[in-house]
Assembly symmetry: C2
Homo-oligomer: 339 residues x 2
DNA sequence: TTGTATGCGTTATCAC
DNA sequence: GTGATAACGCATACAA
């Protein structure tokens, strides 16, 4: 009975069987030739590799991942809006670090909200892990991952759920550093320009701000919510500075908003920075260093963050049942020209 | 003979067999329950879906992709350095568009050079397609894709190789628009601040610049190479403006370099923009619109670019053997405050 | 409408 | 060292 040739829409990809046939060996031999440290005659391996190269054969990673002990080597990254730069710069680092250890990042762009459907969809793959950055963390995502036994690593907030690793900047401390710097500069009428009030990061930064202001014997002039974007920061700052012209310092929940605030203050409201208004951001995105920008800010160390994410990932892959870890990275005040 | 329970490092993921057992149906029934428009009793499907939800079952996309007619739904994106914003903003759009049509983007960050090893590695997956952005395109990547029958879509340059779709801005026209705007502004001593001279995009933009300057009866004061980065633009502009103080206009091969040039010109060399020096960039990244930046630039339309990429992708998936397409997007001069 | 049987491409196990 | 063979989890043609 002749083997029926299936009429596939997908063009035929060279398989190990093809190579085996052409090289006159068994499929097993081909598989071993591609396996580090497997028992194959040296000469035979060379011949197989040669034929494979000629044919353009590569072991199918899908099939390999399906294999019992195999891993898919796929890691999903759910990221926030890349236009805000911090997420973009973190993403670039994660992508590089992951590929460096042989993992392939499947990227989902969350934007404002984490798209449940997409997250749910990507969980169809037997991911080695999922990394969540930005946005809030819906309960069902957590549950899905738990049920599917997919390790979840959260960055940008601490999730006190069992079995979830997280790494996050010490936001309260960061805010305190900012407030201290502003007070040292002689500022007394300080306002807070926040991000989405429902995000943990904003809650912590806000709390740190309020505590520090109070600890200094002051009270906050005003607070506003924003959305962590340039445009949002601009709009919120406009409202804030118009309603409270006495504000002499603005602590912003991230750099993008700080730059938006600076834009509206200088270009529209006739304020000068830092002479009549101090502005301090949070994150220390690459742009903040530019001479034309020179934003004073709280460094939310990206290299350290990604290093820790990778460390947690490695530990989790090594032992899926290890107790979950929580890491707080240390913020640092970076003095530049806007405070 | 009892079925042996494999001792797997990987935690067991619920399979269709598990669901079938618990629901008291066959594995096929479970499969069909998850297949749109398959023949299953309505009530039975509901029961299966219920059991599946309880167990936390999701069809394994790896196994599904291995299927004869199936697709992997994986699309690799090789992108340039995200810190330059243009690539980041394009990436965000691509990620969204791809997930919207049920494709999962596996992202590789090229940075300066396309990392052959990574590209080669990701080709282990039977990708539905590979999208290349930024950097140059090594021959072996093209060959690999061809041998593996993986459609290659190139953006940011036109690749005149058989079987490869590409979409790219009309760079020469963009440069011409910039030069015309500068001349209309009264500038006569115009210099070109280029990107990596070995990239097609830079070659085309440079040629467009030279042709336009010549067409206006002028000659370029100077030219410099850069690396498409802020820091590179800053350094090159410093050299350029120091050696040729008579320069009254700088056309830069991308926005990042233009901003670097502006920084060095204003903060270090005491020039004022646009009074004593005009600067025009290329790309129109989001930042260029900021009131504090207000960069005059050539729009390299991102929405259009991504739309075209998606169109080419869809066409290619629909018919792998269709003749390759090449699309040029139309640039546009955006007048803001730096020219 | 349902269950059985087969193939997808790989790696791992097992005799030889 | 080597080649058959059994998973891996799914979809589907086919028989019932």
């Amino acid at each position: 009975m002749p083997r029926q040739v299936p009429v596939s829409l997908r063009p035929h990809r060279i398989t190990a069987a093809d190579v085996a046939r052409k090289a006159g060996v068994s499929r097993s031999a081909v598989s071993r030739a591609f396996t580090e440290g497997a028992y194959v005659d040296k000469e035979k391996r060379a011949r197989i590799l040669k034929v494979a190269a000629d044919l353009g054969y590569r072991p199918n990673a899908l099939a390999a991942g399906l294999q019992g002990k195999g891993r898919s080597n796929l890691v999903a990254i759910v990221t926030g809006d890349l236009v805000n730069h911090y997420d973009g710069e973190i993403l670039a680092r994660m992508v590089r670090q992951l590929t460096a250890i042989g993992k392939w990042p499947v990227v989902l762009n969350a934007g404002d909200e984490i798209p449940d459907a997409d997250v749910s969809g990507v969980l169809g793959f037997p991911l080695d892990a999922m990394i969540l950055r930005g946005g809030s963390v819906p309960d069902d995502v957590v549950e899905h991952c738990a049920k599917l036994k997919i390790p979840l690593i959260v960055s940008g907030r601490i999730l006190d759920r069992p079995g979830i690793d997280s790494v996050c900047c010490d936001n309260e401390r960061g805010s305190a550093l900012a407030v201290e710097a502003l007070i040292a500069r002689g500022r007394r009428r300080i306002a807070y320009l926040g991000g989405q009030a429902d995000l943990t990061s904003d809650r912590e930064r806000r709390k740190g701000f309020l505590d520090a202001v109070q600890a200094a014997g002051l009270s906050p002039v005003a607070q506003a919510d924003g959305d962590y974007s340039f445009d949002g920061g601009l709009a919120s700052a406009r409202a804030l500075l118009t309603a409270h012209p006495e504000i002499d310092a603005l602590f912003c929940a991230n750099d993008a908003m700080a730059l938006g605030a600076q834009a509206v203050a200088t270009c529209e409201l006739g304020r000068t920075v830092p002479e009549s208004l101090s502005i301090v951001g949070f994150d220390d995105i690459a742009m903040a260093r530019w001479p034309t920008i020179a934003l004073s800010t709280i460094r939310n160390d990206m290299d350290m963050t990604v290093t820790q994410i990778m460390r947690l990932l490695a530990a989790r892959l090594d032992d899926p049942d290890a107790p979950p870890q929580t890491v707080r990275t240390e913020p640092e005040f970076i003095a530049r020209g806007t405070h």
